[in-house]
């Protein structure tokens, strides 16, 4: 199942308050912030496996601490990104490597690039089903066109067409979003 993210200060405040009184409502905040947090982290650790682990850590911590979050006009996402920034710094520390400059960024809203990546990942979720499948198999599962064609029972040419249309689609939507 794929979900869309949304934004809006007042809406977000209501979502936070709902989750504070009933943690079972945390799911809405998760859907709204998943891609942003993930994009912030993956740009800094450059590895999907670690990025997923750290993203999970951030949301677990956020759920555990949701009642402590105080609304002071700063978006909930900024709080999440601070948690993410700390998780990334710890990750580098524990891996015995120097903290990269990028890991030290602490812009409350994340960088423009983070937002672009978050939007892109979010737009992938909204692609037509078959285009989504091709993109996921090609870039996440890293399968060849031939393997995808076999699994989807399509010709290699059709898969390449789907890949092209999906990426053109994403590019067009990114341009609209940033126009």
């Amino acid at each position: 199942m794929r979900h869309a993210e949304s934004s809006g200060g007042e809406d977000e405040r209501l979502l936070v308050e709902a989750a504070q009184s009933d943690p079972a409502r945390f799911g809405d905040l998760y859907e709204q912030n998943f891609h942003r947090v993930y994009a912030y982290i993956v740009r800094r650790v450059a590895d999907r496996h670690h990025a997923e682990d750290l993203t999970a850590e951030v949301f677990r911590e956020a759920l555990a601490g949701i009642r402590k979050f105080e609304w002071r006009g700063v978006p909930f996402s900024a709080w999440l990104l601070r948690v993410a920034s700390r998780a990334v710094a710890d990750h580098w520390k524990h891996s015995g490597r120097e903290v990269e400059d990028a890991a030290l960024e602490s812009e409350p809203s994340g960088s423009v690039e983070t937002e672009r990546h978050a939007m892109l990942f979010q737009l992938v979720d909204r692609l037509p089903e078959m285009q989504f499948r091709v993109i996921h198999m090609r870039f996440v599962e890293q399968k060849s066109i031939r393997e995808i064609a076999r699994e989807l029972d399509r010709s290699e040419g059709a898969v390449k067409q789907l890949q092209l249309r999906a990426i053109e689609n994403l590019r067009a939507q990114m341009e609209v979003a940033h126009a």
Partner: protein, 313 residues
């Protein structure tokens, strides 16, 4: 002549193989998008994390709906075990007027809970506890020390000290029961200053060095020092509060008794983690039990067992 989709795929394949090639300028924006897609999250991960968070949130909501500490129990409840638990229950009834609140049969014995005044004791009995008997020392407050002392002897206890007025504002006599538990039977002088509610039965720990143990209790269980009395360079008596219970101790050369304490707390996992971080040895990490408790077991530096426990739905 390759088609547009073929050219894009060639560029993507080269990018995925980390062997970039010259790309048609028309394709560059698309290849940039493709490059960013290499880091996209897996759909499986998103849904797994969503499910995990939903489960945690539901558990947290149901946990908060349950009061984590059992009604009628203080933070610390001593847990005595003996193969002849029934005899021990009878001793407590006959001597201190204990009320048996429950007795649950378990394979090889039973688990009983008795109330003395406003304090609870747990008793494990039968073959199931053979070889791992737990005993303790207790400072117990009764309305009439002399009468209770006499009843203790009639119930088979051995005197360790006749009732006498003690310099600490109490009349007290000391006995040891058949299982080896020490009972310091006390009645406060009527003239003694009023004191806050400490409970009728206070566990007492004999140990060689009190200071390091006090530090351990503070770190492990957030203990608060109530008073430390030294004489001749020895801590003769110290008291700490843990939650709403009091634990007493005094330095002696007698070995520390093999005791076990149940700890009713709001968050078993947090108390377990704090105890282990403070130096307790982990015997059993937190786990849900079939009797609606989440419990863990740790052993303190003196070898005594502590069982942090919270109620669960």
């Amino acid at each position: 002549m390759p088609e547009h989709e073929d050219l894009l795929d060639l560029a993507i394949s080269a990018m995925l193989a980390a062997a970039p090639e010259r790309t048609d300028s028309e394709l560059v924006p698309l290849v940039r998008i493709a490059a960013a897609l290499r880091a996209m999250p897996s759909e499986d991960f998103q849904s797994r994390l969503r499910t995990e968070l939903q489960r945690s949130a539901t558990m947290s909501a149901s946990a908060s709906a349950v009061k984590p500490v059992r009604e009628g129990f203080r933070t610390i409840t001593p847990y005595l075990t003996n193969t002849e638990g029934a005899k021990l229950v009878d001793f407590l009834k006959d001597t201190f007027g204990a009320e048996e609140v429950s007795r649950t049969l378990v394979p090889g014995g039973f688990h009983a809970e008795v109330r003395i005044g406003d304090s609870m004791l747990m008793i494990g009995s039968g073959e199931q506890v053979r070889g791992q008997e737990k005993i303790g020392a207790f400072h117990i407050y009764v309305p009439d020390c002399d009468a209770a002392f006499q009843r203790a002897l009639e119930a088979g206890a051995t005197s360790q000290g006749e009732p006498a007025d003690r310099p600490y504002g109490e009349r007290a006599g000391f006995v040891t029961d058949f299982a080896g538990n020490h009972w310091y039977i006390s009645t406060r002088f009527a003239s003694a200053p009023a004191r806050e509610d400490l409970g009728a039965v206070l566990p007492f720990v004999h140990l060689e060095h009190a200071r390091p143990y006090l530090d351990f209790l503070k770190g492990a269980f957030g203990a608060e020092e109530l008073g430390v009395f030294e004489h001749g360079g020895k801590v003769v008596h110290a008291g700490v509060r843990i939650g709403d219970a009091v634990l007493e101790m005094g330095e002696s050369h007698a070995p520390t008794m093999p005791s076990r304490f149940f700890l009713y707390v709001d968050d078993c996992d947090a108390w377990y983690a704090r105890a282990v971080a403070a130096g307790a040895a982990s015997i059993q990490p937190p786990a849900d039990q079939p009797y609606h408790h989440r419990t863990a077991v740790v052993v303190d530096p003196l070898g005594q067992e502590w069982i942090p426990s919270s109620l669960i739905a």
